[in-house]
Subunit: 189 residues, 2 copies
């Protein structure tokens, strides 16, 4: 059995995959192109990641700057503040461009959609849910508040609507205003 | 100067444009294809609508079942209830499919984006804003509530996130739950 890649080599590969993704888009990103760019054999790529959708989604997941699960300040407002502090505007703009490029691919590639759900969306949702459940245990949010299940919808709305409606990029100042005006009031917090 | 088309003929043309849009998508929809399908001359199409983006957006606008501006029940909750009653699930599903197909085209066609903003998004936002301003005048919402400017973001989030996160179509029952759990509480209504 071949040994696994080192974490450094893995990080290098993920960076190359995201570069390619921004340059050529999902459809034109082939395992051959990744192999050539990273001087890694296709056999290794398939052994380590199994498929192109899985590799792409793991690269996206690796690149995420904010690990929600680590945030636990003792109050819901404090947890949101830390999430926002760790998010810088330049990254938000790059991520939005990446996501927009993937949105189309996702609808034409059920494997990519499944991998994104399992590896990116669901862990993120679980971490957000953990933040909310701690707030419920502290008595900040009522356990039966129906908005608890709708936080992802509210946040996705902020990301999608800001460029579409206002022709403005999503930045930390806007997200902070949105959390205070929409998210916290609907949670009753 | 040539006479304008009758409203019936205009409606027929819009229906044909939306059919083509669902069948082939925005990029493959040409003025030639519209002319052939509707047995209308290209000269007439250009005289009446000026350009493909304008024609497509006017067809989308004509097809909208709910005219927000006409709704005035005397309470914000009542206005939302009427909006939801006039929206049926089958239409929502068809509209979501159409919008998904257009989302990609919009990002590659600045003319389409501009036409959608001017002819579809802004009038809709103005009508929603009128509903909210009446609620402010009745004293249901504080005039300085920051969520007043964020209603489009909340609603777009509901439409985008429901299929993405929950793998479920947007239906009237979900929208009603979302309005009650997110929209009305954040507006303080």
């Amino acid at each position: 059995m071949a040994s696994r890649l080192t974490p450094e080599r893995e990080a290098e590969l993920y960076t190359a995959v995201l570069e390619l993704l921004r340059e050529v888009g999902y459809d034109a990103l082939t395992m051959d192109a990744v192999a050539a760019r990273t001087r890694c054999s296709k056999a290794t790529l398939y052994r380590q990641w199994g498929s192109k959708p899985h590799l792409v989604v793991m690269a996206l997941r690796h690149d995420k700057p904010v690990k929600l699960a680590e945030i636990d300040t003792g109050s819901l407002r404090g947890d949101f503040d830390v999430m926002l502090q760790r998010t810088d505007d330049c990254r938000l703009e790059k991520d939005t461009a990446l996501m927009r490029g993937l949105a189309h691919a996702v609808h034409n590639n059920p494997d990519l959609l499944r991998a994104m759900r399992e590896l990116l969306v669901e862990p993120e949702m679980d971490s957000l849910d953990e933040v909310l459940q701690r707030a419920v245990r502290r008595g900040e949010i009522a356990a039966d508040n129906p908005a608890l299940k709708l936080l992802p919808h509210m946040l996705i709305g902020a990301f999608v609507a800001r460029p579409l409606i206002e022709d403005q990029p999503v930045d930390a100042a806007f997200l902070s205003a949105y959390v205070n005006a929409v998210v916290l009031p609907s949670l009753g917090a």
